[in-house]
Symmetry: D2
Subunit: 446 residues, 4 copies
Amino acid sequence: MPTARKHFDLSGSNVAARASMLAEDDGVTRRSLLRTSGVAVVSSAVGAIIGGCSRPSTAIAGDAPPPIKLPRLLASTESETHEIEAPLPPEQRLGFAIVGLGRLSIEQILPAFAQTKLCRPVALVSGHRGKAEQVASRYGVAPKQIYDYQSFERLADNEQVQAVYIVLPNSMHAEYSERASKAGKHVLCEKPMAVSSAECQRMIEAAKSAGKKLMIAYRLQYEPHHRRLIALSRSGALGKLKGLLASNGQNQGDPQQWRLKRALAGGGALPDVGIYCLNAARYLTGEEPILVSALTHSTPNDPRFSEVEEQIDFSLQFPSGFTASCTSSYGMHNSKMLRLHGERGWAQMSPAFPYQGLSLEVSTKHPDSEAEVVEQLKIPPKDHFALELDHFARCIMTGREPHTPGQEGLQDVKLIEALYQSAKERRVVELPAVAGSDPFRGPAPG
Amino acid sequence: MPTARKHFDLSGSNVAARASMLAEDDGVTRRSLLRTSGVAVVSSAVGAIIGGCSRPSTAIAGDAPPPIKLPRLLASTESETHEIEAPLPPEQRLGFAIVGLGRLSIEQILPAFAQTKLCRPVALVSGHRGKAEQVASRYGVAPKQIYDYQSFERLADNEQVQAVYIVLPNSMHAEYSERASKAGKHVLCEKPMAVSSAECQRMIEAAKSAGKKLMIAYRLQYEPHHRRLIALSRSGALGKLKGLLASNGQNQGDPQQWRLKRALAGGGALPDVGIYCLNAARYLTGEEPILVSALTHSTPNDPRFSEVEEQIDFSLQFPSGFTASCTSSYGMHNSKMLRLHGERGWAQMSPAFPYQGLSLEVSTKHPDSEAEVVEQLKIPPKDHFALELDHFARCIMTGREPHTPGQEGLQDVKLIEALYQSAKERRVVELPAVAGSDPFRGPAPG
Amino acid sequence: MPTARKHFDLSGSNVAARASMLAEDDGVTRRSLLRTSGVAVVSSAVGAIIGGCSRPSTAIAGDAPPPIKLPRLLASTESETHEIEAPLPPEQRLGFAIVGLGRLSIEQILPAFAQTKLCRPVALVSGHRGKAEQVASRYGVAPKQIYDYQSFERLADNEQVQAVYIVLPNSMHAEYSERASKAGKHVLCEKPMAVSSAECQRMIEAAKSAGKKLMIAYRLQYEPHHRRLIALSRSGALGKLKGLLASNGQNQGDPQQWRLKRALAGGGALPDVGIYCLNAARYLTGEEPILVSALTHSTPNDPRFSEVEEQIDFSLQFPSGFTASCTSSYGMHNSKMLRLHGERGWAQMSPAFPYQGLSLEVSTKHPDSEAEVVEQLKIPPKDHFALELDHFARCIMTGREPHTPGQEGLQDVKLIEALYQSAKERRVVELPAVAGSDPFRGPAPG
Amino acid sequence: MPTARKHFDLSGSNVAARASMLAEDDGVTRRSLLRTSGVAVVSSAVGAIIGGCSRPSTAIAGDAPPPIKLPRLLASTESETHEIEAPLPPEQRLGFAIVGLGRLSIEQILPAFAQTKLCRPVALVSGHRGKAEQVASRYGVAPKQIYDYQSFERLADNEQVQAVYIVLPNSMHAEYSERASKAGKHVLCEKPMAVSSAECQRMIEAAKSAGKKLMIAYRLQYEPHHRRLIALSRSGALGKLKGLLASNGQNQGDPQQWRLKRALAGGGALPDVGIYCLNAARYLTGEEPILVSALTHSTPNDPRFSEVEEQIDFSLQFPSGFTASCTSSYGMHNSKMLRLHGERGWAQMSPAFPYQGLSLEVSTKHPDSEAEVVEQLKIPPKDHFALELDHFARCIMTGREPHTPGQEGLQDVKLIEALYQSAKERRVVELPAVAGSDPFRGPAPG
């Protein structure tokens, strides 16, 4: 990995600052005790569970100048912002090629780079030269850094590009992920990982063969509200976890969009938005389902739903008995929520899945009274894509495995296949018991 | 019905007040326009849909003194309480015998009589004479008005008792409902109606043969938040209805309680609390399900769940495609919510099902901007049991059919049977298409 | 006090139940620990502070039958309703004469009797015979129990009436309170106590001379949300108290109503609704103000405000430095809130002052993280007037001093006078330092 | 202004995009109808009131390539993000020198540049060379672009710097603002503008003499929630405005910080945080106060408050009778809220004043029912500093007067002086009636 090594050489005067930056940034979770239901959750335990990093932080250190220390403006009983982590100078950042310039790239991902500390966009891949040029000028991407799908392999020669972010229609994920791996690039790929589990397997193989990273862009697994909820679910504050109720629906517009074409999308609401409920059920429990059941529906004669399902209502049962009941739709008004049920309390995010405005509240009985309490946790928002991008960059710079690797995406695609089978056969589909990956036992997202 | 006639003779000086009282009391719905999403719902239309009464109100009228008129204290832009409906003097009210003195009777139903306008408790039926005497003294029920299960038929001779309210373990509903009908009494029976659809049929027959009313105590169908939500769902303000997400769970205590014994309860969480989700899906849509699917779970070795299910996650699909996904549990922390999804908005009640503290909010996009708005409707709370009791009394006094008759309870019990079958056979169970009763097209609850 | 003694004879078989009922019913506060900001407030301490009763409860005991015990339906981690306190049979209750049949009596106070355990309405005093008869028939009050203002003194001979509740225009409070005391009745008087401090003094004297109780109807001091907030403010959970921000405004209607006539009301928004802010500042701190400042305003040519102020904005500074800033208006939309500021947290009630729908939430920083938390306390609502009535009855039955005696009302009237002086003279008015009554150090409300 | 002209030459191929960017970006307000209380506010009227721009937009146009058009992903009943305004390439942006590297610069302002479209930091001014170098490296500012207070005037020769942002202790604002004007730079200065009205006057003169812009950094006047509230207050949706209740308090830490030194800060809570309440009262009404009254308090022996006030409670009365009652404190827990009262409704922001997490809700009675409704408006958050910076850049590029010029800052400082006088003299201070600047009648913020 000579390119990366060159870029990320840890020698030099700015080493300590960078070391700190490359270490886990688990702000919310490491610093905080959970506070719910009178359960005192020991900070270090939470750190161990979800923030822990398997590499000793002393592995990277140096004689860099001390960070900027600011006196405490406010009393210790007040929240106070902390010195922000210093961003890397542009020339030291991980260079990305963005593959696909649809709405997601233009409205979310490209603007998010300004909020990363370790990443920068250096190349664009698009079939529309004019549009690419317009976008390139906004972000200071040089015209020569614009590629099309024919010239894609030429990225291999571009030393400024260490990683590609694949933001294409679902059916193209596998091809371009494989091509990028073969070109010697690390791959960050949007969800769903691909339109079949076979494709996912090939993508994993390709990255492995190339000796490069493959990460699926599950942004919410890097987002502070979800990470707090994960910590809460692991802490025992809710008691034994019993179930999840979740919805992810929105009312789709233009019938011509690729998301409504089976050949491009691989399915309807389920792989696009329902996957958030599916993935949440898995990361909140750390288990993998053994029984799945689904009912689908498409409004007859609605041109949007002639190829893919409009709505799917599904249940997943896990080995512990935990059961998730979810609804996902392309025909209902924007509704994106989850409620996680435990035997001693519940936690709700409403909304849970959009790009901004997430909220987390926890309901329990106060241990010493008969009164119920609902706590609203005020967690400072961060850009989801920026967090995900910096995690990927940090993994590449430090040689760690991403928190949401190809296997994580593959498992969701397998479950999507099982859910469609259940809906078709009108019966419960049983899945072999597999150990939950419980990614929070392994290297934590940084 | 000589007894009732005597009691409810409409002649006399207080006729107009009573006429007003016996007419529909659809306070919230008749008076109010719905206000959501910029959809102007014409008040009279809503009245016609959900508040309408098939009997002309002129049928009962008289020369009573005018009601108390109070000048408006506040500006028209303020909410203002209105003159309360005058309660009937005690001796003119409908007399009830309460059958069963468990927690529900003691903590909810008997206290609720003080908030009714048309009802009073005049007799108690209990197997525990001492407890019954204690309770009787609280409510001014004479000792001679205490019955036990052997002497139950003697109620037939008690002219003060026009109706019985059956608040027994589920498996006893059918027997005591039939015995009460045969004793010439109107029957108000707690939900679930019975532990089998065959029992329900017998109860319906018995009431019919006796020429007496039979009503199932679905208190929420008389509650203002639910009635507002029903009106909203009918008004089109949410667009076409697409689905329901609902939970009704609580963490059960004493393993010896009858609710955990199959022989007494007929099932676990489903018939006791899950039935609220089931019933809501039906009254919110006015449709009847054609596909049902369920997964159950009981924690192994938990003494509470050796006979009945701990948790059931189920989906109901209706002819329009509307799908309800629900979870109900006896092992999770108190969680009682619903979210009704439409194509243009959603409405949420959280909580939706407890005896008090209900909340209703509606989320839509503002028609003229890109902003989402969540409206919280501030609806004055009322006692659910008092509303249900007065509705039943009003139906008896005016000869109308209750809004939630035996057929309403029977349909839920049929669905419970189908859900248990689905869980057992691990497959979707299909049900014959039947016309939704849509009770809101018929006489409205008063 | 022969009448009362006869009615409240503590001998007899039902003594224990009544003893329990007459003891402090500080449900929320005694049973509950406060829970805020990780401050563990010891239950017994809170009991001592706000729930304590100076009389040993063993003073009244007997051989009554045991109360009804119900097995716990739910797990200890769930809220559960408790056996309700048994109401006294009607004939053993304290009999009230209601003086004045305006909106407050008809819509709030008379209906509230059905929710008391110790009180009943037995007589009405009104200048409108026809209206009084209508009301009397609703509540089973016999026609011979209707009095007018000329025959008021005949109440002295009515043994069924032990107490009068004065619900007249403010300027009539003093006269009828004095006449009632002279007639040998206990007096419960609506707020404001009177239209001058001199009148208040005379009322106190009259009750004292008669050896009867005098209580001002500050309903919120008996209400569970306010009592919880008082306990919170005393517990230290918010740190040292620093200030209060409060509004009590509504938009008044009919310009002819007595509340807008100086001769009848004694002032405008301040004595009617602003008094709630004023009183709250005092009971939340237990201090008495030493500096007051006010600005008033009335919209020119608005017929409603030709005699009394429309709006008053005022500040009260207390010896500790605590400062309350309040607004009260008869010309603004319904806004009734308070926020209590401490050095470590704040508590907000929004709304704080209406008859129903109160809400309490607490904001603090979580001690172990940088995150803010807002806790919403779910406190079961109770009828404010019923709580106040039962407290008064309990005081009479047990010989204790009411929690809000005449002195409490007098102090508010003194402050109202000082605020009007400040507004008139456009300067701060200083008041002599007096010991805060801090009623919560004395007998607690029961 | 040759430098600026060179930089902002409107000829060239990218003109149309820039023209669009430089035109009013009043996203929320121009696009949206207000929606409250059933009042249909005509979009164009709102535009005219608050979004209107006095320059015809056709004045700047060209033959630039068309903007990127994306098909509508979602139905029209859903919120959808819109194509983001294209940022200017770095080299075309307005260059800023940041003067003062305290917490505000480091944690808020410098990171905010990444979210501007028109600005970039090109120079730093600090007395701490080492710290400045650290910060410079983070943002790609060259070492030669670091100045100290002695070399400040050398900025005059720096063509890359068109504007300075003064983020110094309050008492230094005047000096460095004047020096910057004299150096030929546009000045953006933090609030409070200065520590005396005489200083403010001098600053205004200096900018005027130099022919450069002077803007005070009232970030909230550029923030979408506040702009929506301003539009709401102007629309009549709340009826006639009656008053404001507001708090801005926090619990200060280190007693050595400059904010607690009179010589540096000019006062305590009032000029630092109370000014937000003051300014809001003015921009929400468009009026200027005529009566002010204040009470201050400092905890004795608290080392933080030996020089400046801890807390100030103040009222402002405006010609219309509108009265604002506010509390501001350095000794209370973080509480930053406002409630704006109208005769037909109120609007609340809680919180109202921090850097993020703002919330806006509106309470009214539904016109056709007795029910109250509280609407929560979901307004996408934006970085306050980025909005303010882009507005200033836009004004410079197009030659318009900033929305919050020196006069706006001067008026607040005059009011601060009057409030301190009132507190000292314990009386109401009268101010001459002046026409409200009502900035929303003039050029709107862009």
